[in-house]
């Protein structure tokens, strides 16, 4: 394992996609809200290693509570399931802005830039101080997935830039 030269200043953004996170919440809802994590992984036929990032992501966003090997649907998580598409996105937006450092950083850079565009390199450099290149790129992909769903910001892969989509969009 690679040793970092200084203590990690930036928390890791778990490797989990939106679909899996929402799927986890729905499954917890079905299975009776509070489940042992290992039991959950068995019933879903998921490797524990694959399930962990998803549960961590759900916890980071405040949708579940984890303790004593159990995972439980939190109040906010229930609101996500009960709400319609717009309500879900609004909650994701709110939670990302308050809990996810990387998303906050990107938002900040977008606000400060003149044309509200930020190059990928800038963010990779920010992450590069704590993570190896592969991991940094992975985190960028994950935050883009979340941000697109939450409609927080978007990413143009042709020019490799984060940007804020216009509010009233024409075709």
């Amino acid at each position: 394992m690679k040793k970092t030269k200084k203590p990690t200043a930036i928390p890791v953004l778990p490797d989990a996609r939106i679909g899996s996170i929402v799927g986890l919440l729905e499954t917890l809802n079905e299975q009776g809200a509070r489940v042992g994590i290992s039991k959950l992984s068995e019933s879903l036929r998921f490797e524990l290693n694959d399930l962990m990032p998803i549960t961590e992501a759900a916890e980071l966003l405040g949708f579940v509570k984890i303790g004593n090997g159990d995972i439980e649907l939190a109040e906010l998580g229930r609101k996500v399931i009960d709400g319609d598409e717009n309500a879900k996105k609004a909650i994701f937006r709110q939670q990302m802005t308050s809990n996810v450092l990387l998303a906050k950083r990107i938002q900040g850079e977008l606000a400060n830039s003149e044309d509200h565009r930020v190059g990928r390199e800038v963010i990779l450099e920010f992450l590069g101080s704590s993570f190896p290149p592969d991991e940094s790129e992975r985190q960028v992909r994950t935050v883009v997935d979340w941000a697109r769903y939450a409609e927080l910001f978007d990413y143009d892969s042709d020019s490799d830039q984060f940007f804020l989509p216009e509010i009233a969009e024409t075709a």
Binding site: I18, G19, S20, G23, L24, E26, E30, G32
Partner: protein, 265 residues
């Protein structure tokens, strides 16, 4: 392949006896040029409004069946009737969703979804605004400009679904749509499909879905068709009358599941 619809129904009677089924297969068989007899004979009637799930072992010809239903593949013998009329060639009132997603890697989500409308010659503003409606419906709002390589499996299949829904088909055919996804993503996507189906926001009034998972069949379908292999034929036709939403942990669900498992074995 251009589609031709030939009218072979008998001359109109004043009072229709029974509703013309949406889809009818009459003794169809399918063999490949090397004489291997894949499918049939199969006779089947599907009414408008049904959610039919076809289950069976791999190699039973489920995928081939779907392709003959949509007209993607011709039958070797027998007839495929859509609303009483014989279909040859691709049926434009159907749409398909594949297990492999079949997305165009060089097109964005929006371009992929609008592709069917582009094929029909609609202009860009019209296609994009119609596509946007279905992009929102499947939960891809915000991803319009993404390329397939940036998407997770679940998102990719949402694109496939949106693309099919955008051409506003009467009959939606899905070939193992969730089989390539992990359990959580599949469950998430199944829920979304059911929401869309039950909310009746779409033109589609009939779905035929192929799967190898009996559990998925009971979760989704109003009617389950069981296929056997070599050659592929339908050996069972079971209605599912459980109320929706269907919970996996409920007693009725588990009973139905056991019932089906015993029938299959």
């Amino acid at each position: 392949m251009t589609s031709q619809i030939q009218d072979t129904s008998s001359s109109a009677s004043v009072v229709p006896e029974s509703p013309v089924p949406l889809l009818e297969l009459r003794e169809i068989t399918k063999s490949f040029p090397n004489r291997i007899h894949i499918l049939g004979p199969i006779s089947l009637v599907v009414q408008e409004g049904e959610f039919v799930v076809v289950i069976g072992p791999s190699g039973a010809g489920k995928s081939t069946l779907l392709r003959t239903i949509t007209g993607l593949t011709d039958v070797t013998s027998g007839e495929v009737l859509y609303r009483g009329q014989r279909i040859s060639g691709v049926n434009p009132r159907t749409a398909l969703v594949f297990q492999s997603f079949a997305l165009f890697p060089w097109l964005t989500v929006m371009e992929n979804v609008a592709l069917g409308l582009e094929a029909r010659g609609l202009d860009k503003p019209t296609r994009y605004s119609r596509a946007r409606r279905y992009i929102d419906m499947v939960g891809l709002d915000g991803y319009e400009r993404a390329y397939p390589r940036e998407l997770s499996g679940g998102m990719k299949q949402r694109v496939g679904l949106a693309r099919a829904l955008t051409v506003e088909p009467e009959l939606l055919c899905m070939d193992e749509p969730f089989s390539g996804l992990d359990a959580l993503t599949a469950s998430n996507l199944r829920e979304q499909l059911l929401d869309i189906w039950l909310s009746k926001q779409i033109v589609t009034n009939t779905i035929i879905l192929v799967t190898h998972s009996v559990e998925e069949a009971v979760l989704l379908g109003d009617r389950i068709l069981l296929m056997a292999a070599a050659p592929g034929t339908i050996v069972g036709d079971y209605p599912i009358t459980l109320d929706r939403p269907r919970k996996r942990k409920s007693l009725q669900f588990e009973e139905k599941l056991d019932e089906l498992y015993s029938l299959i074995v």
